[in-house]
Symmetry: C2
């Protein structure tokens, strides 16, 4: 069986999801005629595979989850939206007249965000962009993008890059997921297996697939609030508040230490 | 990375889709709290992967595609519904007072069909069941199950098994898909690749995945009507009529030769 090619999975998927939602661009069809829903496929290193409709990446505010609205109320100053995707939240901030930059590593996602009207976009990693000299007051990690801190090795490096990009008093507003509320034996066994390997329980090893493409395998962290606090120790960021109203999802606000 | 285990992919998926639709049984949750849609994942041997919501396997008649209704108008006598799944069509025939048997190779699907009230079920392959002595007037291959004829090697064997199960004058009512209407380069290249390997263009090599399970790789045929006619040559079945109103889908009626 042929292995999928490595490529811009997220970009291809977002382009198709955008075509389905707006009618702009070629839409994915079954049998050359019947519209197909755009489904994100996520493989985990224990063999688990899940599909999820991709349309939520393009959701309008009326379709958002409540914590997304609460997150945007915490925003101030110049904003860097990290993993901005198709610009779901950055476009709303721009519309409110805020200075917002959408950063993503997916060329396809940035292309769709620009088509939708997002003016200030950056196609780059946080690490490389940290050397650009740009400075921000707020960093957004929404859509579960707290996961981008990956785990104990990567977190201090990622957080140091944000500190480099930070103005005094800057804050990170991040949405995370506490993975430990589940009783699903598949997930409970996975958390144990991760711990046996010296990893955090919710330190997921994933790859995304869409049609003929796959990403490389990458780490993505679902952590509890105490685990997050542990990862912040020794960095320049301090946990200022946590909103757990929409458990298992939470909003963490981290502030730059003077 | 761990390989998924081989198992009753379809059954696990249908059980979850049934739980989501009815609230009966444990529902799949994200983060232990948020309901997840049940998505069928289909891998093709060229690396293509697609997800599709599984709920259509439980669709009520009001949600069906038009050709499903037209198919059931062609039914007469004792019916064997092949690949009956969760009993979507068999339950409707049973409700109409017809003698209908639902056959499937998935234990989980048969379990759900019985829970939903289907009385006469067979957990078996067509080949093994052909030796049972049972006899039918109508064979249903709906939900694209004409694909079960697989290709030129398997088709005569499969059709001979149905002939063994047939009463005089029996018919097969099969829903197929003509794959050749597409201009999608991924599919066009796949058809060419199959032909280069001595296969029919739409002779798909697939496996299904759901959560921790995968099927073995299997052939599944999307063929044009002329290709179907070719596969019937030399068998006891004759193509009596084809309904192409819902292209690329079609309904083929095949009649047993005296």
């Amino acid at each position: 069986m042929d292995q999928p090619a490595i490529g811009d999975v997220f970009g291809e998927m977002i382009r198709d999801a955008y075509a389905v939602r707006t009618g702009i661009g070629p839409r994915p069809l079954a049998g050359g005629r019947v519209p197909r829903p755009v489904i994100e496929i996520i493989e985990r290193d224990d063999g688990l595979i899940n599909g999820a409709p991709a349309d939520h990446y393009l959701a309008e505010p009326a379709e958002w989850q409540p914590h997304d609205h609460r997150a945007l109320r915490l925003v101030r100053g110049a904003v860097l939206d990290i993993g901005a995707g198709a610009g779901r939240t950055a476009l709303v901030l721009q519309h409110r007249g805020m200075a917002v930059t959408g950063l993503d590593t997916s060329a396809g996602a940035i292309e769709v965000a620009r088509k939708r009207g997002l003016r200030d976009t950056v196609l780059n990693t946080v690490d490389a962009y940290a050397r650009s000299g740009s400075r921000y007051d707020t960093f957004l990690l929404l859509g579960n993008n707290l996961g981008l801190i990956e785990g104990p090795e990567r977190a201090p490096v990622f957080l140091a890059a944000l500190a480099e990009l930070a103005r005094p008093g800057a804050r990170i507003i991040a949405q995370g997921t506490d993975p430990y509320g589940t009783t699903d034996p598949v997930h409970v066994a996975y958390h144990r297996r991760n711990r046996d390997r010296g990893r955090l329980g919710g330190q997921l090893r994933l790859r995304l697939r869409y049609r003929m493409l796959a990403t490389e395998w990458f780490d993505y962290l679902n952590c509890s609030v105490p685990e997050l606090a542990g990862l912040l120790a020794g960095t320049r960021w301090r946990l200022a508040s946590v909103d757990t109203e929409d458990r298992p999802y939470y909003l963490a606000v981290m502030e730059l230490q003077p």
